[in-house]
């Protein structure tokens, strides 16, 4: 593992059981995350993009060990986190945080903003006195663009964008290195999305943060990410530097996604690739390449052999038989 690698994910899998019998009995499995591997370098932002249900949020939660994996390994700052015991895990939690999508359900409605932001400080004993903690919370609120006078308020007194800022302050309170942003702006108004993105970028610079930025919108990710990974049915199908991916998408799925982004210029003509049908069920993922059922470039090999994720150009990884 290279020295500036902060996070290493190797062959991560999570199968959820469904259809459990009364006590025992055969369970069907949802292949939510099915063999995901990538590295995160210190200070970079990796965008993780995919349709809903492709396993991108589950990947984020697995990395934080909010759910236990079926198999695979995640190494954070040279520590394999799935082997960590309770005390060690607690120490690790201080250094990796998460920002959630829905600002209405991600803040405890019975706690004041001060309690919400200050909780991590209490748990990790980052401040000695109550006054010191208050000051730190006030400082954090200011950093995310809220006023310190608002810290005695409850979440229901804030707007969606403000709540998201409270969520960001809560994540920052424990001085993390890695922040997993799980669709942090998808639930916000367009006018506020840009503000929150800019805030996240400023904070990254200020606190030397590494982001895993999960989104379902390629356009949003383009702006903030250094590299982008595209997920489909629990697997990464393409991973490349942001500019490279947008300029030269290799995987047919990425092509289709990019062609769906509206261009604000009615005179531009371009071919739009329409994907047929819905994504197949993750309970019974297709044989061979997972995308072959909807692919516009499929050929006879696609439904027999599963392609591996290979580096076909410098720093450009893709899993497709075409390359």
């Amino acid at each position: 593992m290279a020295n500036d690698t902060l996070l290493q994910v190797r062959d991560l899998r999570k199968y959820f059981d469904i259809k459990r019998g009364f006590f025992w009995g055969e369970a069907a499995k949802v292949h939510a995350v099915d063999g995901v591997s990538f590295d995160l370098t210190h200070g970079e932002t990796l965008g993780l993009v995919g349709e809903s249900g492709c396993g991108k949020s589950t990947t984020g939660r697995l990395i934080l060990r909010l759910i236990e994996p079926t198999s695979g390994e995640v190494t954070f700052d040279h520590v394999p986190i799935f082997q960590a015991d309770k005390a060690e895990m607690r120490r690790l939690r201080q250094r990796m945080q998460i920002i959630f999508q829905d600002p209405y359900s991600s803040l405890n409605p019975r706690m004041t903003v001060e309690q919400i932001v200050g909780e991590g400080i209490v748990i990790h004993k980052l401040c000695q006195t109550k006054a010191e903690r208050r000051e730190r919370v006030a400082d954090l609120l200011q950093k995310v663009g809220l006023s310190p006078e608002q810290m005695n308020r409850y979440p229901h007194e804030f707007s969606g964008g403000q709540r998201q800022r409270v969520g960001i302050a809560r994540a920052l309170a424990v001085k993390p290195k890695l922040i997993i942003a799980d669709e942090p702006i998808s639930a916000l108004d367009v006018s506020i999305q840009a503000q929150v993105i800019n805030l996240l970028e400023d904070l990254q610079e200020q606190f030397d943060l590494t982001y895993l930025f999960i989104a379902h919108d390629l356009r949003v990710v383009e702006h903030i990410s250094d590299r982008v990974a595209v997920m489909y049915l629990g697997q990464i199908v393409e991973l490349a530097d942001s500019q490279e991916l947008y300029a030269r998408p290799l995987h047919p799925y990425t092509e289709a996604l990019l062609s769906a982004i509206p261009i604000p210029d009615p005179t531009t003509k371009r071919q739009r690739i329409i994907l047929e049908g819905d994504p197949p069920s993750p309970i019974h993922p297709p044989q061979g390449c997972r995308f072959h059922t909807r692919c516009h470039k499929r050929f006879d090999r696609c439904d027999k052999e599963e392609p591996a994720l290979r580096e076909v150009a410098p720093r450009h990884w893709v899993s497709c038989h075409l390359y």
Binding site: F100, N108, Y154
Partner: protein, 314 residues
Amino acid sequence: MRRGQATSGAAPLQGTHDIPHSAFRNPQSRRSGASPWQDAFRRLRRNGPAMLGLGILTAFVLAAVLAPWIAPYPFDRTNLRYGARPPSPTHLLGTDELGRDLFTRILYGARISFAVGILATLVSLTIGVAYGSIAGSAGGRADHLMMRVVDILYGLPFMFFVIILMVIFGRNILNLFVALGAVQWLTMARIVRGQVLSLKAREFVLSALAIGVSPARLLVRHVLPNALGPIVVYATLTVPAVMLEEAFLSFLGLGVQPPMASWGSLASEGSAAMESYPWLILFPGLALTVTLLALNFLGDGLRDALDPQMTAAR
């Protein structure tokens, strides 16, 4: 009655309370930091029947607590020459067959009835919340097993169960509280477990986990406070249920023992002589009915005040 006025005066004010967000308020009059509980209390205060119920209950509980001072006669003083008289200026609600003053008996009966109602509810609350939150937090097979146990207990005829408990542990009042509470906790456990399960999937609980909150703190700080609404509401509805059960047990002779009386045992005695002395069942029955109605009004009011969905709809 101050509460009565507050009730009638509150209705026209409703429109002015419809702006919950401080953003819309005049900066000078900004009241920042109204907790969800304070908001709920404001809504409760505007609910007429609930405040009426609360007023009646307060009056009844006060009367019960102060019974030794306000009762006109000792509760067990008999006067055989003055037995079974209808209401009169000397005996407001009449006397029973042994010449005991019914008003006094009802005051003292209130003490037993309220004590049973409150204590048995506390017992059911303690067991139900503990059991339900353990099952909900544990999840998986442990949860499955614990809830099947509840299902099985549900299937037993509960009065039969109470009677067995009373027979085994003896017929004293304390056992009555415990026995009734021990039967009532099942629904509470189900409610709490359901709440815990749904709250566990909420993002603020996940983010607390991500911050490194211990399971105990998670339950106490994040899960239970948000489940408190339904718990409080169900508890207020448990009180009348328990009072009715105590009345029924007393009716069967398994409740309080003479010369002590509860509303249930008074009604039971009264029912024996219903045709000749109707006031003996009328007044204890009335006290019981009014209390149960008041508790139900209050419970409904609390449910409306604490339910966030109702807030959004208004």
